[in-house]
Symmetry: C2
Amino acid sequence: MAHAVSPLAPKSIPNAPGLEGVRIATASAGIKYKGRTDLMVMVFDEPAAVAGVFTTSRCPSAPVDFCRANLVHGRARVLVVNSGNANAFTGKKGRESTAATAKAAAEAAGCEESEVFLASTGVIGEPLDVSRFSHLLGDLAKEAIPGRWREAAEAIMTTDTYPKLVTRQAEIGGTTVTVNGIAKGAGMIAPDMATMLSFLATDAPISAPVLQSLLREAVEPSFNSVTVDSDTSTSDTLLLFATGRAKGRGCPEITDAADERLGGFREALKGLLLDLARQVARDGEGARKEIVVTVEGALSDAAAKRIALSIANSPLVKTAVAGEDANWGRVVMAVGKAGEEADRDRLAIHFGDVRVAFEGERDPHYSEAAASAVMKREEIPIRVELGLGSGRWTVYTCDLTKEYVAINGDYRS
Amino acid sequence: MAHAVSPLAPKSIPNAPGLEGVRIATASAGIKYKGRTDLMVMVFDEPAAVAGVFTTSRCPSAPVDFCRANLVHGRARVLVVNSGNANAFTGKKGRESTAATAKAAAEAAGCEESEVFLASTGVIGEPLDVSRFSHLLGDLAKEAIPGRWREAAEAIMTTDTYPKLVTRQAEIGGTTVTVNGIAKGAGMIAPDMATMLSFLATDAPISAPVLQSLLREAVEPSFNSVTVDSDTSTSDTLLLFATGRAKGRGCPEITDAADERLGGFREALKGLLLDLARQVARDGEGARKEIVVTVEGALSDAAAKRIALSIANSPLVKTAVAGEDANWGRVVMAVGKAGEEADRDRLAIHFGDVRVAFEGERDPHYSEAAASAVMKREEIPIRVELGLGSGRWTVYTCDLTKEYVAINGDYRS
């Protein structure tokens, strides 16, 4: 079920530099796919600090439950990720699978099971057969070397059409630190669902509680502001590891989230997560256009975000963009249904730089030709001014095409 | 932009009997469409009691604002509905249009403007040119006769593929009364949005406050439990008129919502609204299958409804049904994202009579062949048992097909 690479893919996929204290290996374990890698092991030779955020689903996968439990210790020595099977909705067998994987991974890395982190993506409802890959973990942990970030990004893909990999640098107290991140987005293998996984590592010496605080802050305007189809996976997992090895190059240890020396790192982390999150939207199933929805002038940022998500999740808005139609009427509809304060007669709507609606009616100076030119772009900015307050938010999504329906509906027919 | 009649349309469209005190006329005013009716006038020779419910949109259309204001008086003499232009997001011009229509309608019916009710559906953002039809209202009010319900249902259609018309009878204190209803559903004319309009009338002598109470109660499990694409129109309007003429045949006047003699009427009204609402779902854009989602065992009916709507609005569930795929994994996902209490390991999911998942995993006795047979039906029942309480709700929707994307995205390309 190969799909053409998204027209919104980056022109070239970068590699990321090796990170001190992080070694990576991948393998083709044949969990479901043939002829590609589907297993990724990331080893931290000294315990790394770890932070994580997970799906809000009330029916999370077994690996999500497992990671949440281990996260309280804040220490990681090994991460094992498989694609091809999500180990979700697998009941007691799911817990047995995570326990068996954790045992094998702890032996492979020579660590405690509480220092193991796991993620799975792929088919759901199928028990995950750990015997397919548990025997590989020992050798992989030995073979793992720094710098294999691109291979890691490829091994965790499901029906992503390109690997997602970003690197950023920042200074902490005069020392350069690096943060690398990979992600996988909306993919589908019957009977499956979209799942977002993302793994980041840095050599910065930042304590687990500070890392958690930074991650929570950075995830709001990035991964928590991206939507493909409003459907929330049972498996969404974002983990950030910090090896602290930059300490050897004079980097100060950071143990307070309010430490001013974190400024550059905080921005780098936000930039990296936003880049990854937008890549996920741009590789949404069937996507041909990225839609960037900005709501301004709301009563609060939270209200702006809810209205922006209402627009970004509207099938009518998304199909209009697919049809290159500057259909501001549907934007009004989506504003109206969001349930937040809005005044029809103060609304202004822009597609790109073209103001199509103003003070509750069609802008009298609106040029159909200019709006059509905007709609032909790959990136469609939609901006709504509510004129009520100073709340503002931006959300990223993609258009809704027949290809989305084909990917998600046709494979049995 | 004609579309083939939905395969889920009724095999034959009934007419409804004439109602004492209700006269109907339709006309081709050429507001937007050619060669079809687009104007409907319903006249009540003596003031009818009236009840109404409207869109929850914060950006409602001008006619919705107008009806809300008049509803407080609870008396109706004339209803004017046009298709082809929604008079929504038309700012000050919108209010001028409703005022001008109300003036012309009041003159035509010889009543107060406070006794006029209006609805519009079609293009939004275009000023409604009242001069296209205001001069017709006088003659229409004169020509109007009872029994033209089917013509009324046809005149209010936009891209509905069939007229929606239901009639029911009930007894109140030994006298037979009738209630007729028409509706239009998800239609689309660029640049437009789905709009749901429905108008009901009865000869029962029921006071306006009682009528309002009955309507609020009956709308919850029907129109408020149907969704095509989760998008809420700016124009949704449901009005119920009671002429009271059955009083002449001995029917008692009802002025108390707790009156036990209302039992039969209450059930008839519920049945009629549910029938109309399901017809709207079955004529959803591109629909090939109706999906009936029932959630049982929730902590409350409200929780069951939210979970059922989460399933019914999920693009991944709807595309799976389009592909005739009994994809219970996506149902689990939609349960999980609804935000209501759910216990993954107690979930059971049925497609029709086939239990596909039980106690948080695939049902070991699940037959793929039996499930596939269910998915080939026109009506797909999905039932989720949460095992937590006694809350229960049913929601009606349709599948998401490429045709939906084509209707809503392709018309400009």
